[in-house]
Symmetry: D2
Amino acid sequence: MAGTFAYLGPEGTFTEAALRTVSAAEHGVRIPARSVPEALEAVRSGEADAALVPLENSVGGAIPVTLDELITGSPLMITREVLLPVEFVLAAREATPLAGLRTIAAHPQASAQCRHWLQANVPDAVVVDVLSNAAAAIHAAAGEYDAALCAPIGVGRNNLTVLAEKVADRAEAVTRFALLSKPGPLAPPTGDDVTSLALSIRHDQVGALLAVLTELAVRGVNLSRIESRPTGEQLGTYVFFLDCTGHVAESRVGEAMRGLRRICAEVWFLGSYPKHRLQPEAPVPAPKGLTDDDFADSAAWLAALRGT
Amino acid sequence: MAGTFAYLGPEGTFTEAALRTVSAAEHGVRIPARSVPEALEAVRSGEADAALVPLENSVGGAIPVTLDELITGSPLMITREVLLPVEFVLAAREATPLAGLRTIAAHPQASAQCRHWLQANVPDAVVVDVLSNAAAAIHAAAGEYDAALCAPIGVGRNNLTVLAEKVADRAEAVTRFALLSKPGPLAPPTGDDVTSLALSIRHDQVGALLAVLTELAVRGVNLSRIESRPTGEQLGTYVFFLDCTGHVAESRVGEAMRGLRRICAEVWFLGSYPKHRLQPEAPVPAPKGLTDDDFADSAAWLAALRGT
Amino acid sequence: MAGTFAYLGPEGTFTEAALRTVSAAEHGVRIPARSVPEALEAVRSGEADAALVPLENSVGGAIPVTLDELITGSPLMITREVLLPVEFVLAAREATPLAGLRTIAAHPQASAQCRHWLQANVPDAVVVDVLSNAAAAIHAAAGEYDAALCAPIGVGRNNLTVLAEKVADRAEAVTRFALLSKPGPLAPPTGDDVTSLALSIRHDQVGALLAVLTELAVRGVNLSRIESRPTGEQLGTYVFFLDCTGHVAESRVGEAMRGLRRICAEVWFLGSYPKHRLQPEAPVPAPKGLTDDDFADSAAWLAALRGT
Amino acid sequence: MAGTFAYLGPEGTFTEAALRTVSAAEHGVRIPARSVPEALEAVRSGEADAALVPLENSVGGAIPVTLDELITGSPLMITREVLLPVEFVLAAREATPLAGLRTIAAHPQASAQCRHWLQANVPDAVVVDVLSNAAAAIHAAAGEYDAALCAPIGVGRNNLTVLAEKVADRAEAVTRFALLSKPGPLAPPTGDDVTSLALSIRHDQVGALLAVLTELAVRGVNLSRIESRPTGEQLGTYVFFLDCTGHVAESRVGEAMRGLRRICAEVWFLGSYPKHRLQPEAPVPAPKGLTDDDFADSAAWLAALRGT
């Protein structure tokens, strides 16, 4: 893939940092978008070849809107996931003792994630809300505030000095981004893939969700994530977003998806793509009875019984 | 089908009566066998084209041996089931008041099934054990005992007179027989079929049986019967005999069987054949999402997603 | 327990052999009954203190009648199970070469279980049906037939000589007997107990049986046996007989039984009693989260939340 | 309840509007907090008696932080839920034709929710990001921008004129708020209650989530919402937030919670409170077999069997 990449802007946020880990995007054209819908619209309209948007556990609250966008409008497919550790820094125009800071610019959700650190280390500073992590760095660089709580990418871009690193209260926070394109040929299985699906069911009945999970469990397909979202169209109708282990080209995933297709009001296939692991980890092979060979064997056995 | 039919003898029992409801057998050759294994051996050796043996709820305790035989030796297939109401009669050489009967010949399990009736109606008669329902009629005809507890078929054959009809304590008892042949082409689905399977699993774990039932439930395949039998080969290993709704040629039954094949130690396909209904009853069609069309639709959807 | 013990006769069968392994019965009065219903009636009427009847995998086809009897009439409780290896012997009045035997008396199910051995070792002998294993020995002792296929207990009793031991085709066959009494105080848990239940559900729906198994599985209660029996009262209504691991006094068994009581048409508690093991084997303790302590802990937690 | 109520500020947002539907808060003291953690801290520190914060489907992305806060720090309990339809208005200092608007102040997520309406009705206006819906109204009132996209509550407070009502792309959007207090005596069941729970399990295995849902399903407890959140403490460990039908004082809810307590790493009870219905709807009573009476009956039955 080459060419033009939209992303949730502005420049200098975690999303840009994540996009630059994608080699084609590092060497291609990168267009910041004002919102997730705008980034996706750039792909749908053909203005961009792909868009990177936050999917999960983001600092910017973008998740619901990304999920909602994935199942409305013309179809888009996740072709890649990017995990990026969330590391906030406290930065200023020049090296300053923390005790001397009176004002700190921060996006409200950034300051919320660093709340305990801020209380412990700069208890007397006033935290001023700004519109994004990138804006915080820009305001600090402009001298409007003494310091900024921002992403590392904002430091160099605005010629700031780091006063403190890794100031988030939770050291292990990670944001997960999705690279989205128009549907096209699928990349083949790598042996360590994720398949993303969305399903609509009535889930005021626990039985409906049990039925969905049972379709997966019977084929040995594991879940790595589940989210429910009201559809907004009808009270009591929900959409579930699932990330499953495996690739749509694998027998067990395919049969599970066929089962879901039969029992759900609607199923959206959002893509099969390689799992991004921050630490190398051996993928878990399909368990006994659930490999492609096992499916082929059972199909051959049945065909023989049927005399077909 | 025509030709030679073995059955569990001797002549004059319920099994012969059941066999004679099969038109080809009524006009063909009927050979009584001394035991279920002998009847089946007649088919395996080619001596008979088919054999009728009791399968379920029999008066003669033949069930376990039939089940055991079905999964040992060369394969046999159920091509038809025959249900026969179990109706015992009390019969004698000539019309006699019940109060005058001193001895009644009966197979022990026949007298057990009529115990309450005998206590209420012939409390003073001595019940003498004999080896079969047919033997009871023969002994009574020979004058060795005053009367016989026997099947209706034994009355005419031995020129007896019926003293009392329907003397069984449970009026609705039914015996189910199976007509067995060597494997051959399957009869096509009728829309109201039964599929018989045997499975070996370790069932000291409830989880193993739950897994089996879940494979069926996920495909909407109902059970009309389940029996467990220890295999005798290894302590704690069991074989389950299942009767399922539907025909192996139906998608939902086929996919369920493929799933069982993958998770069970062994699966025996014992046949798909029309359900015998004593009272006409509308068959239950495959529920929404589980028809052959639904399976075809989901397969086409998946193929399109995979680009295959 | 002491006193009078009924058992499925006649004398000299496996049931008598099994009863004599029960110390109180060995020293008490033993009454052979003509049938399982008669044996149980002896207990119900007070004539006997307890009755031993075959429960599972018997040679005599007595199982269905035992199961049926357990859920009709006034309640009886299993207080003990007895396992007895099924070992047939070939015996005669005096030592004789096998090749010289022309007639062998055998109960039809005994000869069925030894069929392959008989074909291989006495191919030319005629097997004559008799009414019980005990009767076979008696007939041979009387000189009516050259030999008998019988239980070891029949040898000494009739002063016979063993011509061949362990002649059953399946070496490991075991019969399981139940000692039944009127309901009384339960023996306390031993840590390795079995609880027998019967349930009535409509089981033409796989969902009903799944629901039953799920009630057990959720509380970690394993099944060691499951049998289905049509009730005879209403077409399509079945009774399931279950043997579960554990004792009714254990929390997990109790909560599972309460759940079954709520979802089933009827539940019969047939007893909690020590598991009889032919080979010593360490009992499996309740898994993590399902011990009595875990149940007590969760009850205390809930009470605290409720403020009760 | 009376006294002091913290809420997610600033003044003039949907959260304040929601709080004012609570009678005690309408007549009590209301304190806007800068963030959800600050609002909750006000309760934990005793500064406020209760706090109202958005829980689900909010426009401000506040959900994850609310969920995270509920399971960290000293316990808080949901005592009430408040549903508020999300209705955006376009407002200005004076009545103005839409065609004449050049600049519109809006919180980024508000403009995202009204994107299609804005494109269709004010295609030439520039949308300027501001920090909150309240800030949008304030900026418009100050004349900095021609109009504001804001909550109805912002109109009167800033003396604005409504140019267009209900401009959100999804007419039925609702935000759900939770009123949180320190744990205290529970309100009794009303017959139409919700119980909120959080659970930690390893959910890379579909089996773990299936086990959780099965504990609920077995007791007939329905889910009205499920969310998963990574804990941040350990990769692959997730916390699930569940809303269940029923009250902790009901037998079926209590037994299900006991089951969850036994199988989950940790269970947080977040409250049982009346369901807030925007349209009156008859509550669904506990199904057959799962009423408090059914639980009491099964407990009495078991106690009788145990002789306790």
